[in-house]
């Protein structure tokens, strides 16, 4: 009786249970899928369609198909490129600063000897607070004759009206608001580093810095990549902070601000939609780069540890 079990070949037999499970799975997912498709896939398709039209809300009668001309107009416009570089600057600088600060914050939350709960609670406040509220707080802080921070500057200076200074202040507001989220993601990554591995490294003679760079960082690389991916995409669509702090004036407008202005100030749906589609493509390229270049595992995918 030691014959090996012959694996049943051919058509897989679906038992009634498996079929039922399958149907239930589809049934349960269907509403969410339908909503997501209806509210994102369809509109983005519609945006592509709009972007190929000349469609100015002030002159709806003159709408007509213009092919890629809107894209040509956008891409050859200095407004697009200014906004693009501003967005890129804000994204790169704020994410880089957040990574360093967030890592520090994560280490504090991970290692602190006491008041851990208080620290975590405090750190959640910037995450939870409405961005517009935080932005107003910063705006007032930097407004001459009103704010505590403006007083630090030579009198008469209005920092939010100078391009570079304003950009840095936007980065500051963005960093303040989102570092906690970065820190929490990194904290979860830190929790994955086994205490014993660090002890082993200590016994092997590694200094604290070596333990951090040679053991902790490599082990939490997946968490770092996920956090970077999330935050990069998030920073790239920055809108609220700029809208409140400078309204995009003085060369501080991001791509999202540009798109918004084209829609609601210039009321040009065609151009606005072309900008929307281009932003969508940029985000796609960033996500693709992350996944391909750094092998960032998509959250929810099976991460191999």
């Amino acid at each position: 009786m030691s014959t090996t079990a012959d694996p049943a070949r051919g058509r897989p037999v679906l038992s009634a249970g498996a079929k039922q499970e399958r149907r239930l799975g589809w049934l349960l997912c269907a509403p969410a899928v339908l909503v997501m498709l209806a509210v994102t896939a369809y509109p983005i398709g519609y945006a592509v369609y709009l972007s190929l039209q000349r469609y100015d809300l002030r002159f709806p009668a003159r709408a007509e198909f213009v092919g890629l001309r809107n894209y040509g107009a956008v891409l050859s416009s200095p407004y697009w490129w200014d906004a693009f570089w501003v967005t890129l600057f804000i994204t790169v600088v704020s994410v880089a600063v957040e990574l360093v600060l967030g890592m520090g914050l994560a280490l504090v939350m991970h290692r602190t000897l006491f008041a851990r709960g208080t620290v975590r609670t405090a750190v959640l406040v910037p995450y939870g607070i409405v961005t517009v509220v935080a932005a107003f707080s910063w705006q007032y802080a930097w407004t001459p004759e009103l704010g505590y921070l403006a007083e630090l500057l030579p009198s008469g200076e209005a920092p939010l009206t100078e391009q570079w200074l304003a950009l840095w202040l936007i980065v500051l507001a963005e960093v303040w608001k989102t570092t906690p989220f970065m820190a929490l993601l990194l904290l979860a990554g830190l929790a994955l580093v086994p205490e014993e591995t660090l002890k082993a490294a200590m016994v092997d003679g590694a200094t604290p810095w070596q333990r951090f760079t040679k053991v902790t960082l490599p082990l939490m690389k997946p968490a770092i990549l996920v956090a970077l991916l999330f935050r990069t995409l998030d920073a790239f669509r920055i809108f609220d902070n700029i809208y409140v702090l400078t309204s995009g004036a003085h060369g501080t407008g991001s791509l999202s601000i540009l798109g918004y202005d084209n829609l609601f100030t210039a009321l040009n749906l065609g151009i606005g939609s072309a900008i929307s589609v281009l932003i969508f493509l940029c985000v796609g390229i960033i996500a693709f780069t992350f996944v391909r270049l750094f092998g960032a595992a998509a959250p929810g995918a099976e991460v191999k540890r």
Binding site: V33, L124, A298
Partner: protein, 277 residues
């Protein structure tokens, strides 16, 4: 040894204080502004010299703010309920059932989580005007629940994975019908996760600004973040600073309460979806 321990503790104490100050100072600052009377508004001090409720009385006297507050609460709550219900169904399927197309679902919600909202603003603006839900609650509820669905699905499926599913089997063998097993065993265990997700989704909806200013045009659906941006001040000659600060504090209070009460759960919820094996 004791001395070393003490300096160690002191150092952590200093670090902790710095972190807490960093996190709370801007909030304190705007709160302080909201309690200053117009005369001392620009004194730059961190503590109001004369405390006053004037600014709060001011904003609650106008329908501009009260209406926006009602809109904010109503829209965020409804969007949260729908997103959590749909998300729970999908997350249960993702965590528990085997069915083809699961990866597609995960990929799709990931895409939407990364989607730049501005890209949707122009088409949604047009579509909503055409079908007549522009500047209505529904017009905001729909994008809110959509954009929070991925968050809900991730967080919930991470929570669901934690539930020991042996319990469901045990309940069945103990004589429970599938419905009883779900109601008596799974629901009580899943409730904390669902609740946490609801808080995260609510914060997400509560926070939104871009859709709120793009898809509304009057008081009828404008939420507080958008309304604040349009504040003009009680008189023509007055800056709306005090009103804005007061309104800002009002919409920050629920967030602070959530954070104080559910700190642990929010941290778990935020990180569960992102890092797991």
């Amino acid at each position: 040894m004791a001395a070393a321990g003490k300096t160690h503790a002191t150092r952590w104490g200093v670090v902790n204080v710095v972190v807490v100050l960093y996190a709370l100072f801007p909030v304190w600052w705007i709160a302080a502004l909201s309690f200053k009377d117009p005369g001392t508004l620009s004194d730059g001090s961190y503590v109001p010299r004369d405390w006053t409720w004037e600014n709060y009385r001011g904003i609650f006297a106008t329908s501009e703010f009260t209406r926006a507050l009602i809109n904010s609460i109503g829209i965020a709550l409804i969007a949260t309920v729908i997103a959590v219900v749909l998300g729970t169904m999908a997350a249960y399927a993702v965590a528990r059932l085997r069915f083809p197309g699961k990866r597609v679902l995960i990929g799709m919600s990931l895409l939407i989580a990364m989607f730049p909202p501005i890209s949707l603003v122009s088409p949604l603006f047009d579509i909503e005007r055409i079908i007549g839900i522009f500047d209505t609650w529904l017009g905001l509820i729909i994008p809110y629940m959509t954009f929070s669905l991925p968050l809900a699905i991730y967080t919930l499926s991470a929570f669901f994975r934690e539930i020991p599913w042996d319990l469901e089997k045990a309940a069945k063998v103990d004589g429970a019908t599938p419905a009883q097993a779900f109601r008596l065993v799974i629901v009580p265990l899943a409730a904390p996760g669902v609740f946490t997700t609801a808080i995260l989704v609510f914060i997400f909806c509560w926070n939104d600004f871009l859709f709120a200013i793009s898809l509304t045009s009057t008081e009828s659906a404008r939420t507080v973040p958008a309304a604040i941006a349009f504040f003009t001040g009680s008189s023509q000659f007055q800056q709306p600073t005090g009103s804005i600060a007061a309104a800002a504090v009002v919409i920050t209070v629920p967030i602070i309460i959530f954070v104080l009460l559910f700190q642990r759960r929010i941290v778990a919820g935020l990180t569960s979806g992102a890092v797991k094996g």
